[in-house]
Amino acid sequence: MIGFARTVTVTAQLADESTVRFRGLLEDHIYAMDLEVDVHLADGVITAIGGNLKRFTTPWCRDAEPILQQAVGMSLRADGWISRVNRDLGRHGCEHLATLLVECGRCLDTVRLARAVAAGVREDPPRPAADVAACWVEAHPEAWQLTPAQGP
């Protein structure tokens, strides 16, 4: 029998041509929460964020929700952004909401890659998706999380 389970879902949709809107959902045997965050595609800057704790463990947990606003203006391309989220929004807010924001943020370049692969395969159907992906990654060094051996 399962003793503990956690599921995390992240979706990304285009809010407009320059902004990707992530929705994150975290559900486990203890916690439940959601997050919506708008990110500027070109520079990874968070332009809007909101989150709700739905199931939590103490009467004070929801005090962490407003602390999420400190993420507005933060760039998901800045060195150390994950550490900053875990410190400023996690340790001083809710570590699980911070986890969910990191989950969304880590998808930024994967979303761009997925779009490029979908477009590449659509335009040139015989071309293998892996070939499109490799070319895209090579042309986008800012997406260092997809090539961690070359990253900071």
């Binding site: 399962i2 389970a5 463990t57 962490a64 990654v137 961690p148």
Partner: protein, 168 residues
Amino acid sequence: MTVEFLRTKTATVEAVDGDRLEAVWRLSDDLTDAEVRLEVALPDLEITAAEATVRRFTHPGYAGAADAVVRVQGVRIGPGLRKIVTGLVAPEPGADELVEGVLEACNAVILHFTLPHIRALEGMSEEEALAANRALVELNPRMLGSCAVWQPGSPLLEALGRGGGGEP
């Protein structure tokens, strides 16, 4: 409006027998389908078996990373885990997600042991809950400072007589 991308992650923990747990992490999204499976020995929380399977990954750099996950065998779930796992697995190109998979599976093991404590709190009076939280933080001092509830000056730490975060 349709979505451009959808990722799901799951982490589960199950008792194999009285001495072992199995933690399984799975990631599935538009580009990737990967799984990490750990066997964890009790009571030391030592990872005694580890394997990763990558069924789909569009970026070819991922292929060799799965083999690197076996290197976490022998590691104990505890302080310094991120640094240790990153050092063992991350040098392989494309290993980033699998490092997170190992860490998230280990985090699920920790939460597996937290769950009974949380359930017990639900039936307690305020006084009993304070006593249980005091026992919890004495057992696991790393709780201090882990989130706003456990920061110095928080209502809970004030109630526990640990307003400054240190010893009462």
